[in-house]
């Protein structure tokens, strides 16, 4: 499959070097041909890279091997229908001169380039609004550069007003001071957030209103930027797992699994069958939890408080099973590189089945309030539309993309952990309105329950670890009684799992969409660089296209329907 892509790229771009890394092709591109190459990659029907998944940079300042330039920028592209993944690597000779912006080609590039600028100080010429995104506007320096000290905090005294940005946005709509004078009205500027019940976390939604209609919308994020990526560079590979819990904290275990899967695929580590099935069961279970919280909160925003009890009570009840299994309610940290932390406890099947039945009942109860409800239909159908093309351009993934009618699901399209052996459907919406997003999530809960029931029948007995002590801690009996075991344990704890040098991207279908990890390893036990491709970030980047022209009240439920989780959005 990827051979055909390599051939095509070889014919179209004979000057560029291509190589295969895991399931993606990496292509080096010169800065001066970047925009032309990117345009062709997107528009050539043979290539059709309609999705820009992520942009990130690498700072090679302290990298053991010498590189020709200090910075490189990596673009991760996907052709979803053919399951092609392409990384375009560009060398940056001078970060201040930077690279040309690709934000006219993909909507997703707008925020992605701002993040690279903020974290690495690489300029993108031609970008419409290049300013900081995660760090505050009074911040000096670029924290992900290797010469920035991790503990050098900078105090912010004042919040950015965003007035210039919203006026610029209004101007692109053809609304300025003179039009306002002509129709004898005034724009009202309204802030939702950063501390507002409708934002489900800390996001600032800044709107310009004409009556109740949103004329322009600018969003500010970064209020929960906790330095995940910089912190991860100072931790061993296994020590990063607790940090991944706190990305999408509504489905912590999914992040754990996504992260270790990314490391294991680079190590070429085949985990045991039982561990695979455990991961399938648990990831689907947590996908359900995530959707339950999202739907509960979204329906509360609409005024349906009863739904909150029906849906959230089942999540609360699930915590009994989760905390019995993992020891924690929310932050599970349940995976390890090479397997799982613990096996299922005895009698888990009955608990799981009981819980699944309870969830089915809760969801059915909630659906009985929603499905025939005129108010819900009127409020959600046809509002805040997201056409498939816009969704792809802004890098929407997961349920939000599927609600727009694009049947892309990594579990089907690039299956891992035997997902191809399970019988399940991928629910898709038709128009991409709020109703579709809600219903896709409801349907996915039932599909996930189906997968769990199948996996529970098929799960084999056996080990949950690979017994390879380069990666996995030896049993305690060996640690206490034998010098090899002790040395092994010591080395794994202090130095971490040694991961061979290289750069790779690996992705996973999380509850919110494609959760990807971009790693650079220098061969040591700590990641040289670890970038998360958070599904929320790109959903939020396209938020303004959905709400402009809609009512302010719809913006609130729209935010709930795309399920923004601060931990993942800002990292």
């Amino acid at each position: 499959m990827n051979e055909t892509l390599t051939d095509k790229l070889g014919v179209l771009f004979p000057d560029n070097r291509c190589r295969q890394v895991l399931d993606s092709i990496v292509m080096d591109v010169a800065p001066d041909t970047l925009v032309r190459t990117m345009e062709r990659l997107k528009t050539y029907p043979d290539l059709g890279f309609t999705m820009l998944l992520d942009i990130t940079a690498v700072d090679y300042l302290t990298y053991p091997e010498e590189t020709s330039t200090r910075f490189k920028v990596v673009y991760v592209l996907r052709n979803w229908s053919r399951n092609w993944l392409l990384q375009v690597v560009v060398e940056v000779a001078d970060p201040e001169r930077g690279l040309p912006s690709v934000s006219t080609i993909w909507g997703a590039a707008d925020w992605a380039e701002r993040e690279v600028y903020d974290q690495y100080g690489i300029v993108f010429t031609g970008h419409p609004d290049l300013r900081r995104i995660l760090n505050h506007w009074q911040f000096k320096g670029h924290p992900l550069r290797k010469d920035y000290d991790i503990r050098q905090g900078q105090i912010c005294f004042e919040t950015d007003s965003l007035e210039r940005e919203i006026r610029a946005r209004l101007a692109t709509k053809g609304v300025d001071e003179s039009t306002m004078r002509d129709i004898n009205t005034e724009m009202m500027f309204l802030n939702l957030g950063p501390s507002h019940p409708a934002t489900h976390g800390a996001i600032r939604i800044f709107t310009a209103l004409d009556g109740e209609t949103i004329m322009a919308n600018v969003n500010e994020i970064g209020y929960l930027h906790r330095g995940f990526e910089k912190t991860a560079e100072h931790r061993t590979y296994n020590q990063v797992i607790p940090l991944t819990d706190r990305l999408n904290y509504c489905s912590a275990l999914l992040n754990n699994i996504a992260y270790v899967k990314a490391v294991e695929s680079w190590l070429g580590l085949e985990i045991t069958e039982r561990a695979m099935f455990m991961r399938v069961v648990l990831s689907e279970f947590f996908r359900i939890q995530d959707h339950l919280v999202c739907l509960a909160a979204n329906l509360v925003d609409m005024g349906g408080l009863t739904n909150y009890w029906y849906l959230y009570n089942e999540k609360e009840a699930s915590y009994d099973l989760i905390s019995r299994l993992t020891g924690a309610r929310l932050t599970s940290s349940f995976t390890r590189i090479g397997g799982m932390y613990r096996d299922f406890y005895e009698g888990w099947e009955a608990d799981m089945e009981h819980q699944l039945a309870a969830i089915e009942k809760g969801v059915d109860d909630s659906l009985s309030l929603v499905l025939q409800n005129r108010i819900v239909h009127d409020r959600t159908q046809g509002t805040c539309l997201l056409p498939a093309e816009t969704a792809l351009s802004y890098g929407f993934t997961g349920p939000n993309l599927r609600a727009s009618g694009v049947a892309f699901d990594l579990r089907k399209d690039n299956p891992y952990y035997h997902y191809d052996a399970f019988d399940f459907n991928v629910p898709v919406g038709s128009t991409g309105d709020i109703y579709d997003r809600i219903m896709v999530r409801f349907e996915e809960i039932f599909e996930s329950i189906k997968i769990i029931r199948q996996a529970m029948k098929m799960i084999p007995d056996g080990d949950i670890f690979v017994f390879d002590h380069r990666y996995v801690l030896p049993p305690k009996e060996q640690v206490y009684n034998r010098i090899e075991g002790l040395a092994n344990h010591f080395k794994l704890i202090f130095e971490g799992v040694k991961v061979s040098a290289g750069e790779w991207y690996d992705s996973f279908e999380a509850a919110n969409g494609e959760l990807g990890f971009y790693f650079v390893s220098d061969g040591s036990g700590r990641p040289y660089k670890l970038k998360v491709r958070p599904p929320c970030f790109y959903a939020m980047a396209g938020f303004h296209t959905m709400v402009e022209g809609e009512m302010i009240a719809d913006a609130v439920i729209n935010l709930g329907s795309i399920n923004i989780i601060g931990g993942e959005l800002d990292r």
């Binding site: 912010c156 501390s195 009840a317």
Partner: protein, 170 residues
């Protein structure tokens, strides 16, 4: 059976200290303002939901307007970008007010000892009760609520508790 001055006032009048009566009222009708930013806010949702039911302690009237609240629950990590907002919202709350720092991040920065995280919200606003845990269980939230209630009981209504507080943003 009234004694002293109460004996001469009749059955319909009870005498007490101002502190006792005002604090009794404040204690059992706390109106929380949830400053939820991260994972801890999810656990606060659990504390508010049916199973743990925060209304058993008289604090279920969750206000999202600081002007109507007297108990601030800071649930989650506070970054330097967020800090001025936290301070502003705290200042918008009318006196008397109490603050709970929920979880490791709000108490001390938690596992995020880095360039963007405030190392404990007590560098920005005064804090009355800290809850440990990452995130704390809902029971711990209820425990903190009881601690605040005990603290209120012993306070004097005349003392301005945080007159001399100076944070990094002051």
């Amino acid at each position: 059976m009234a004694l002293g001055i109460e004996a001469s006032l009749g059955d319909s009048i009870v005498t007490t200290k101002l502190d006792a009566i005002v604090n009794w009222g404040r204690q059992y009708s706390l109106w929380p303002m949830v400053f939820g930013t991260a994972c801890c806010a999810i656990e606060f949702m659990s504390a508010a939901a049916s199973q743990h039911d925060i209304s058993r302690f008289g604090a279920e009237v969750v206000r999202f307007s600081p002007r109507q609240a007297d108990l601030m629950l800071v649930c989650g990590t506070i970054s330097y970008k967020q800090a001025p907002i936290l301070k502003r919202i705290y200042e918008q709350m009318p006196e008397p007010k109490w603050v709970v720092a929920m979880g490791a991040c709000a108490s001390s920065g938690g596992i995020y000892d880095n360039y963007c995280t405030v190392q404990g919200i007590d560098t920005v606003i005064p804090v009355d009760v800290y809850i440990s845990g990452c995130p704390p269980r809902p029971e711990a939230v209820l425990d903190a609520l009881i601690k605040i209630q005990e603290q209120i009981r012993t306070e004097s209504v005349l003392v301005d508790r945080h007159k001399d507080f100076k944070g990094i943003l002051d």
